[in-house]
């Protein structure tokens, strides 16, 4: 702990303040931290004067940062300390050609050439444009068979490849290979003019447009010394909660559809649209695009918008309660939800699951409570009552979060009406960013912990932009959920997580 510097969510610090230790000290510090209820928020490499550095941001009830310099090869933390590092180390290897020595399963994350032009760690030939071209983990035996699905799936859904090793109906192992959605976002962001940043931020994952763009804008605000007014913070908080409700409701509908219980699937589908329309009332886009910008928001809530929001929430809340009752009291649904895709609390902790995937395993972490941004410090926290780690728990956590978020929005509109000073709408402008600085922003997006980290160079230009979607932690949770389950339960498990392909692939 001694080597770690405590930092605050969304507060920029000088890069000189970041503790720079030897790799041995870095290793032991992170090993101790992650063995004692510590989790990883960010862990990435960047180029500095021809060499490579690693930066780690970790959390328990506080947020800490530490850095080191590495050679082409470094000792893997995954191999001897914790699974929590496994995806991060693979990403470091893929992005910069640095090799975590002793990583138990070093394979590509997204399938792209590295940024540094170094020799490829995986020996891939990127002239070949198929990321699935790789020897998958396979199980051998007389009755073993393999099922390959994707990248193009049977529906309107993002691409990814799933490889199941099965014995009859039973899944022994599921390997998930993504990368098909890779757009090179982290690589392109530092060279972009500032006016393009929020547009890209809103398109990292469209279902989390508000959440990711909030991380981006808070980062720019911290580096530019911008203060946002209270009204803007209230609107941002409302937008993030509307996004949460819309997605949770959509997923409860999808879960209903997957157990062939069609009435709630139709109701939830329609009700989800109502929430997207509320975002459109707030900022003109059903996904909240164009609303949050560095310095505040582009659209304020007038009397008309507040009235429309209140009226719709009043009309729709009893409908949601009723449809939830319909779904959760049906015995046929319970029989399909309970004891399916269970991840134990121990495993969830080992993997570092976040968001509802973690909370459904009785890991209460919610960034809105632990690292509150915008108006969350003054709002009541949620609690969950069904936490067995199965599909039923993930569905119930969503239901509880929907009801909690509905209350929050009503509270936030009240607070907006009590404002003494009317907020001002902002437009995108270029801002001077602090030189040689680093900022970490965290928000609880609807899937869980979102985090962006921005490093500036001596000119105040962005040197490295790092993005982490909660899906980066949670895809492994889905793979573990499928162990010893019937393959026919894959869709149900998948919907209960509903992870982001593009948020992962970047």
């Amino acid at each position: 702990m001694d080597n770690l510097l405590e930092i605050k969510n969304g507060v920029a610090i000088s890069r000189e303040a970041v503790p720079e230790v030897s790799y041995e000290q870095f290793f032991t510090t992170l090993a101790d931290f992650t063995r004692n209820e510590g989790f990883i928020v960010q862990f990435f490499a960047y180029e500095e004067q021809g060499g490579y550095k690693l930066l780690a941001v970790v959390r328990n009830t506080g947020l800490y940062i530490i850095g080191t310099t590495v050679e082409k090869t470094f000792t893997s933390l995954t191999g001897s300390v914790s699974e929590k590092f496994h995806m991060f180390e693979r990403e470091i290897a893929e992005q910069f050609g640095l090799k975590p020595d002793g990583h138990p399963w070093l394979k590509m994350v997204r399938y792209h050439k590295n940024y540094s032009g170094a020799k490829d760690v995986f020996g891939n030939d990127y002239q070949n444009e198929i990321p699935g071209n790789y020897p998958y983990f396979s199980v051998e035996g007389e009755s073993i068979h393999e099922v390959a699905v994707g990248p193009v799936h049977a529906g309107i859904i993002e691409p990814g490849h799933f490889r199941f090793q099965c014995a009859g109906e039973e899944v022994l192992h599921l390997e998930i290979q993504l990368g098909y959605q890779h757009r090179g976002i982290e690589k392109m962001l530092p060279s972009m003019p500032q006016k393009r940043l929020p547009i890209i931020g809103e398109s990292i994952a469209g279902d989390t447009a508000v959440g990711h763009n909030l991380c981006l804008c808070q980062g720019i605000e911290a580096l530019a010394g911008l203060k946002i007014d209270r009204g803007a913070a209230l609107i941002r908080t409302i937008a993030l909660e509307l996004e949460r409700i819309a997605n949770h409701i959509g997923d409860l509908g999808a879960l209903s559809g997957d157990v062939a219980f069609n009435p709630p699937a139709a109701y939830f589908g329609r009700i989800r649209g109502e929430f997207l329309n509320l975002l459109q009332i707030l900022g003109g886009s059903r996904f909240g695009k164009g609303l949050v910008r560095p310095g505040g928001v582009t659209h304020l809530m007038g009397e008309e918008q507040r009235r429309l929001l209140r009226e719709k929430l009043k009309e729709i809340t009893p409908e949601i309660e009723h449809v939830c009752d319909l779904l959760f009291t049906a015995h046929t649904v319970q029989a399909r939800f309970e004891h399916i895709g269970t991840v134990t609390k121990e495993m969830a902790k080992d993997l570092g699951l976040v968001g509802y995937a973690g909370r459904a395993c009785n890991i209460p972490y919610d960034a809105r409570v632990t690292f509150p941004s915008e108006c969350y410090a003054e709002l009541p926290a949620n609690s969950n009552h069904v936490t067995n780690g199965d599909v039923n728990s993930r569905a119930t956590v969503r239901r509880e979060e929907i009801m909690h978020s509905l209350d929050l929005i009503a509270l936030l509109i009240d607070k907006y009406e009590m404002l003494e000073e009317q907020p001002k709408a902002v437009v995108t402008e270029d801002h001077m960013l602090d030189a040689n600085s680093v900022v970490v922003t965290i928000n609880e997006g609807w899937r869980g912990e979102l985090s962006h980290c921005i490093l500036t160079d001596s000119n105040g230009s962005i040197q490295r932009y790092k993005i982490k979607d909660p899906s980066f932690h949670n895809w492994t949770g889905l793979a573990m959920s499928l162990r010893n389950q019937e393959i026919s339960d894959f869709p149900l498990n998948n919907k209960s997580y509903n992870l982001s392909y593009c948020g992962f692939d970047l």
């Binding site: 444009e129 309107i156 959605q181 392109m188 398109s203 139709a266 589908g269 997207l276 164009g290 392909y501």
Partner: protein
């Protein structure tokens, strides 16, 4: 029963979107050149051509930034969601679009007017286009009442509906899917990403223009296109 009948009467009756929605931009032709240039400089998507006083809806993400310049002296976004076009150059607009129904090819209407089956291919989109296409299957829009469906197999499809800027990693899968659709087949580019790369233009990990790979028959602009924009485009083009 208790939910009642929730399906929209559109297109039999017109439908009005909330006034904050940003649809077809209306351009002031007589606007001062300096103001137009200011809008052009501010545009994150480089979608505005100030001397020509046009906006490229294939690049525009409808963020509304240009609308804030001098209180909309150059451009204002209307609530008109009917944005589909049959030709790429028609999307470069001074404020009006040709009637899509008149521009569609008659043999498409004959072939697909009564039944149109589409295979959706998500090729590195942000999932907003995909989500607002999926919404067409909810009771409010109820796409299947028009004989239009999204199907699982390309073998069952009459064409592909593509979203996203086409990452290098999805290029081959996209081409394979197109190949698997029996002819005659159509190609629809949905969202600014598939038309121009959208927010990701300039990235060297994407193709950024579906038309450079496959011949596009129908363009549906937006970031993402509103479900009604997609519905209008499909109905006008094929019905």
């Amino acid at each position: 029963m208790e939910q009642g009948y929730k399906t929209s009467p559109y297109p039999k009756e017109p439908i009005t979107l909330y006034h904050r929605f940003r649809g077809l931009p209306l351009i002031q032709e007589n606007c001062d050149m300096e103001i137009a240039r200011k809008c052009s400089d501010l545009c994150p998507q480089d979608a505005i051509d100030a001397p020509a006083k046009t906006i490229d809806l294939g690049r525009c993400t409808f963020c509304g930034h240009c609308e804030t310049v001098e209180d909309g002296a150059f451009v204002r976004f209307s609530e008109n969601f009917e944005l589909g076009a049959a030709q790429r150059n028609e999307l470069v607009t001074a404020g009006s679009l040709p009637d899509l129904a008149d521009h569609s090819q008659q043999h498409f209407k004959k072939l697909f007017g009564r039944s149109l089956q589409l295979r959706q291919v998500s090729a590195a989109g942000c999932n907003a286009c995909e989500a607002d296409t999926n919404v067409l299957n909810t009771p409010f829009f109820d796409l299947s009442r028009f004989g239009i469906d999204f199907v699982a197999s390309p073998r069952h499809a009459d064409g592909i509906h593509v979203t996203g800027p086409i990452s290098l990693n999805m290029k081959q899968a996209l081409l394979d899917t197109f190949e698997a659709v029996p002819s005659p087949k159509i190609v629809i580019a949905s969202g600014s990403c598939s038309i121009s790369g959208g927010p990701f233009y300039g990235s060297n990990e994407i193709v950024g223009d579906l038309n450079s790979l496959l011949p596009v028959d129908l363009y549906i602009p937006g970031c993402p296109p509103h479900p009604l924009t997609t519905l209008h485009a499909l109905l006008s083009f094929f019905k």
